[in-house]
């Protein structure tokens, strides 16, 4: 068990600065998900913790100890790779045992730990198989067992589910949450998929262009975003945004809008025609366009509307988010909030 801390960390590849002066603290025992678009630096952070892509400057602390000069194998961390990185020439048992052998752990203890780890991921019957004969999901489980067997204080996972099919991904998500509960160690999980982040994390760290945009629990991320990037990244479909003349803007989530044929009450009201309709089952997504060519997406439980139909959408005042010119959120207690709200109401 260990917390992780980045102090004033910078990472450079040749002359490109990927991360500059970053500070971050990951709590002991948390399930922290680093999420962001590709190239945002999330994997770079993970690799710094592992020691396989060390920082250019600054300190990385694992359990209050600076690990900068400690080799990857001696940091007490285990990592699950995107492509699993299973050793193809070794049997499942050898794969899992490899780290323990290198640490010169006696045979009996090794066997006991391999057995335990295999039971946790349900791979006991495959111990003597070669990885080549196993499916993607099974290989993923070996990679997990290989990490578990080391009793690491920190689990690092680099998009471990992205090579699995959709159904298996959902199943493995649940299994990982349960595994975290069982092991009670720190999990650091990297993904570009906000759904994965929302469903698994107790803390989300959202990154963009090497900077942390917001760090909070999934529900705070969704309900109370600090800035426009967070608001647009978290939630699917993304938040609707409309700019004011001065460059600031307001937004509302597709699921916050109410749609009807007649004009009704609501702080923000707009008439438009349905440009596209996607039936998802329990809900339907409508893409609505008004005369100024503004496009909004509305998520509705009502699937009775058709394409080219003229409808009204309404958004209640408390569901409207205001963002300043610098893309930072303007909250209720901030200056200018009422002015912008007034503008929205007058539209």
């Amino acid at each position: 068990m260990a917390s992780i801390e980045f102090k004033n960390v910078t990472k450079q590849f040749d002359k490109t600065v990927v991360i500059k002066d970053l500070d971050l603290k990951i709590e002991d025992g948390s399930f922290t998900v680093l999420v962001g678009p590709s190239g945002c630096g999330k994997t770079t952070l993970l690799r710094m913790i592992a020691g396989i892509g060390p920082q250019t400057s600054g300190e990385v602390l694992v359990g209050d100890q600076d690990v900068t000069d400690i080799e990857p194998g001696k940091r007490g961390v285990a990592m699950v790779f995107q492509n699993y990185a299973i050793y193809p020439t070794m049997t499942v048992r050898d794969n899992i045992e490899f780290g323990l052998k290198n640490q010169k752990i006696p045979k009996e203890e090794r066997e006991r730990r391999v057995k335990e780890a295999c039971e946790k991921v349900g791979m006991t019957e495959y111990l003597d198989r070669k990885p080549g004969t196993l499916s993607g999901g099974q290989r993923q489980r070996i990679a997990l067992a290989r990490a578990i067997v080391k009793n690491p204080s920190v689990f690092l996972m680099d998009e471990p589910l992205s090579n699995l099919d959709a159904k298996l991904r959902v199943q493995m998500r649940v299994e990982l949450i349960e595994l975290h509960k069982k092991l009670k160690t720190t999990f650091v999980y990297v993904t570009h998929d906000q759904v994965e982040a929302m469903s698994m994390a107790d803390t989300i760290v959202l990154m963009n262009q090497g900077k942390i945009q917001q760090m909070a629990s999934p529900s705070v991320m969704y309900k109370d975003p600090d800035n426009l990037f967070t608001a647009r990244f978290i939630g699917s479909p993304a938040m609707n945004v409309k700019a004011f003349e001065d460059g600031s803007c307001f937004g509302f989530r597709p699921e916050a809008a109410i749609m009807s044929k007649e004009k009704e009450d609501g702080w923000f009201k707009m008439q438009g025609t349905i440009a596209a309709r996607e039936m998802l089952g329990s809900e339907t997504l409508y893409t609505i366009r008004n005369e100024q060519q503004d496009t909004f997406v509305v998520k509705s439980g009502d699937d009775s509307h058709g394409v080219d139909e003229t409808v009204w959408i309404h958004v209640p005042r408390e569901k409207i988010y205001i963002f300043g010119k610098d893309e930072m959120r303007i909250r209720q207690q901030d200056d200018g909030y009422e002015t912008y709200m007034g503008k929205v109401g007058a539209m």
Partner: protein, 302 residues
């Protein structure tokens, strides 16, 4: 109705024949230039061949084989070929693996230049290489001896002495082939994903353990391939010996193929030559089967 059935039948025959027709040119070539000469060689090895008067050619059974195995020339050339093969294969294999690991990890200009420089000998013809080395290995005015003298060592007899001649030929073969095999092994090294090495680093594996347990097993198919190709190639050594030593001095560099060549072109004894060729054929065949049987168990195919 009748015609339709006929059409269907001929189409069916066509479908069966088509693949055979398509491979026919290649098979014809192999038959004509590989299989036929091989059979003919084995056939002749049982005859006392008279080239001037074919009517006098007669069946002699195993007599050619008995003769060559009783001649010191043939036994010596067999032994030389074995020694030559062993040393070239061991040398090239070790050097190529070490060089490939050393060069493969770096991507700077120096390493690229080294790679290109090392590959260069492969595209030069063996005859030219042999001639150039013969000159460089001259005892009194050769470049190599000048260097030896310059650093205060004694002159080496190189191809002039029966104790160093075979080693000289081996040296040339190693020099010529090393770059090619290094490039092959480097290619296979580069196909190993970085994440495997990163996983090994996180598994606290030392450099030696990583090499032994991960790198070598992963490139074993290519190592296996190079081993077979090299062994077979070495058994057929001819050009360097033809140009540099002509089998001498005192038969110390005579090889199987050169022996066969001598029998045909200087002794005009086709029967013995064919017997020698057949022996080579059998040895290479056995080696190939042996390699596949023994090593394929230890080789990993992805």
């Amino acid at each position: 109705m009748e015609k339709g059935r006929k059409n269907k039948k001929s189409r069916h025959i066509m479908r069966i024949l088509k693949p055979y027709l398509l491979i026919a040119p290649a098979i014809l070539g192999i038959m004509l230039f590989t299989v036929y000469p091989a059979i003919k060689m084995v056939f002749w090895s049982f005859y006392d061949v008279n080239q001037l008067n074919p009517a006098k050619t007669k069946f002699v059974g195993m007599k050619n084989y008995v003769k060559i195995f009783h001649s010191t020339d043939f036994v010596k050339s067999l032994k030389n070929t074995g020694i030559y093969t062993l040393w070239t294969v061991v040398f090239i294999m070790l050097c190529a693996v070490v060089l490939a690991i050393w060069l493969g990890r770096k991507k700077d200009k120096f390493s690229k230049f080294t790679q290109a420089a090392m590959f260069l000998p492969h595209i030069i013809s063996m005859i030219s290489v042999g001639l150039i080395f013969a000159q460089m290995m001259g005892v009194n005015n050769g470049l190599l001896n000048e260097i030896l003298v310059a650093v205060g060592l004694e002159r080496c007899q190189w191809t002039q002495s029966s104790s160093t001649a075979l080693m000289s030929v081996i040296l040339v073969a190693v020099w010529k082939a090393i770059g090619y095999y290094t490039v092959i092994i480097m290619g296979s090294l580069q196909s190993i994903p970085d994440s495997i090495y990163e996983a090994a680093a996180l598994d606290d594996a030392s450099k030696l353990t990583t090499l032994r347990k991960i790198t070598i097993p992963l490139i074993s198919p290519q190592l296996f391939f190079t081993l077979i190709i090299m062994t077979i190639g070495s058994f057929k050594v001819f050009e360097t010996i033809r140009v540099m030593t002509a089998g001498g001095p005192n038969n110390s560099t005579n090889s199987l193929v050169y022996y066969v060549y001598q029998q045909v072109f200087t002794k005009y004894d086709i029967g013995r030559a064919a017997a020698g060729g057949t022996v080579l054929f059998i040895i290479v065949g056995i080696l190939t089967i042996l390699y596949f049987a023994l090593l394929s168990k230890k080789v990993h195919y992805q």
